[in-house]
Symmetry: C2
Subunit: 354 residues, 2 copies
């Protein structure tokens, strides 16, 4: 079992393994003696035997899978179930699922009785590499992604790469998009590893998966430690996301997050090239890597003006212009000053038509 320490105000560990039994030992070690599980129907159906083996469960809420559940009604559903299960301040919530389950459960945990403990058991590559680390919780409201949320660090995170083997291909690639993002904004050897191990990864070999989850956890932990509350450094993780979030909203969350940010990374890499931060060959290599893993690099947008409206609504917008996290050579990133609307619009038109 590999360990990564996240040294934030309230430090915690990420454990990476391929044996679910180790989880029971961790629950004992962390004295979690009253557990409330939040999961989704897909994970619950696949892993109910695992879940039933966990001792001291006082209640289980299984939500409808998908981004569409990431709203206030699902949060209220979790509160209702906590109350019905007589959860109290000593209860530990276990979020077992992808990013949606993790974000919603952690929001509920951070606000129920002003905060009960939470343990993350991410079951998707996206969640293991990214969303379960760093304490961001939240849900969408009025069509705006993650507009409501808190910062709330878990007791620990347990990543079992065996979960990744039951993901359908599209869900797995969804996570690969975030892995590619890490390799571009904060390399640490990951970029070359991805170039060289595409096949083993796509075949989900345990050692390859563990390596990638471990590398991504270390990168994310380092960035979160420098900027726990998302004031500056952490914004480099938004590479691909300013355009990506807008694409998700534009398509009413019918495309996956990783697909949207893949397209977002293409557009934003082009912007980076236009600004002289990367050269044309870097831009082409990024597009190539995304494409080679089987992720989309464009999507037909009929109404670019409408897409621009979503970009401007994005919560990272502070003034009238638009900020981006952009690659600066491969393996580094910077936050731009505000870019003009027309400049962004032209990049979108160049990359994805419209």
């Amino acid at each position: 079992m590999k360990e990564v320490k996240v040294k934030v105000l309230k430090p915690y560990n990420i454990y990476i393994a391929h044996d679910f039994n180790l989880f029971k030992g961790l629950l004992e070690r962390y004295k979690c003696h009253s557990l409330f599980i939040v999961t989704d129907d897909t994970v619950y159906n696949l892993y109910k035997n695992y879940i039933n083996q966990i001792p001291n469960i006082i209640g289980v809420t299984s939500i409808k899978p998908g981004e569409g559940s990431k709203n206030i009604n699902t949060v209220l559903e979790i509160y209702n179930s906590l109350i019905k299960s007589n959860a109290n301040k000593k209860t530990t919530m276990v979020a077992m699922g992808g990013g949606v389950v993790g974000d919603l459960a952690a929001f509920a945990a951070s606000t129920f009785m002003r905060g009960i403990r939470i343990v993350h058991v991410p079951t998707t590559l996206m969640a293991q590499c990214d969303s379960s680390i760093g304490g961001k919780t939240g849900f969408d409201y009025n069509g705006i992604k993650n507009i409501i949320g808190t910062f709330y660090q878990p007791e620990f995170v347990f990543c079992d790469v065996n979960f990744l083997k039951t993901l359908d291909k599209r869900q797995f690639l969804n996570g690969i998009a975030e892995v590619i993002k890490y390799s571009i904004v904060c390399d640490d050897g990951l970029w070359n590893y991805l170039m060289q191990n595409k096949r083993g990864l796509l075949e989900r070999e345990s050692d390859k998966l563990i390596h990638v989850v471990h590398q991504c956890s270390k990168i994310k932990a380092k960035i979160v430690e420098e900027d726990e509350f998302d004031n500056d450094k952490r914004q480099i993780l938004n590479f691909g996301h300013t355009i990506g979030h807008a694409i998700e909203s534009y398509f009413n969350f019918e495309i996956l997050h990783g697909e949207a940010i893949s397209i977002g990374m293409v557009v934003e890499s082009y912007i980076s090239y236009q600004l002289g931060y990367i050269d044309i060959s870097d831009y082409k290599t990024i597009v190539e890597l995304i494409k080679n893993f089987g992720l989309p690099i464009k999507i037909k947008v009929d109404d670019v003006e409408k897409l621009m409206e979503y970009i401007k609504k994005d919560k990272k917008k502070i003034n009238e212009n638009i900020k981006f996290a952009l690659p600066y050579n491969i393996g580094n990133a910077i936050i731009t000053g505000d870019l003009k609307e027309n400049f962004v619009k032209n990049a979108i038109k160049y990359c994805i038509g419209g």
Copy 2:
């Protein structure tokens, strides 16, 4: 202007004054250049001239006054208004009102975009002495008081005692109940001051009000510093509240919080006497002081079993039995081990019938 420093993880100041103009200077000093006001209709109607003088307001939400508003729907109303006003991460929320406004606004501020700044301008004695200090936010859900909430410290608190002069008598006494609580659990000279200055206080003389708000702020700050996240020491502030909260629920929030905790303090002082923590003369003096200020010391409860159910549901309950914060002589308090249900029930029957 008096100042009290609250030395928590993110330290902040409480300012106590009787000149609203000082507030504008503080907003400038704290660089609050985009303000979103949350208030209630009573405060807004009385003070709209004041509010309109504040510069850089991007939006105002005025909620319906009273405990009945302390629910998820009002929180959503605040989110809607923030979005409509184009609030962003640089916006500072100003909560101008009593405890309900403060708790709701601070919850919304702590969760909007994962946290925007909040300034408290408490307008009731209850809020100035108690609820605006210490960072507790929250709302009621499924009939359970403050079951949902966060810990979220403000930028600063501005207490203008002039606000207290327009409170109706019942609302003013509501706050006196918390002041009496402070004098019992953590004296610091306040108990004798209350005994000796009842008339001046009830006539709301500025110097008396400033003295009391200043003393209570210092006591509360000290307790909060020792236990920011309400794990032990802070629980002494729950004196009167275990019974008090249950009475509020039982009467469907139709009696005021201060009235409920006055009765709660009577019952819990009796329990303290029964356990030998205070003697009979202390018990009688407490009841006398509460009564002399014009606060209730009993209320007719037809169904004591139903009241017991509310006590057991109280969020401070951890196991099967019931914990209390009880006076230990006048000026000190302790947290009891778990008390048996029957023992509590008998005390209720003795003090308030049923």
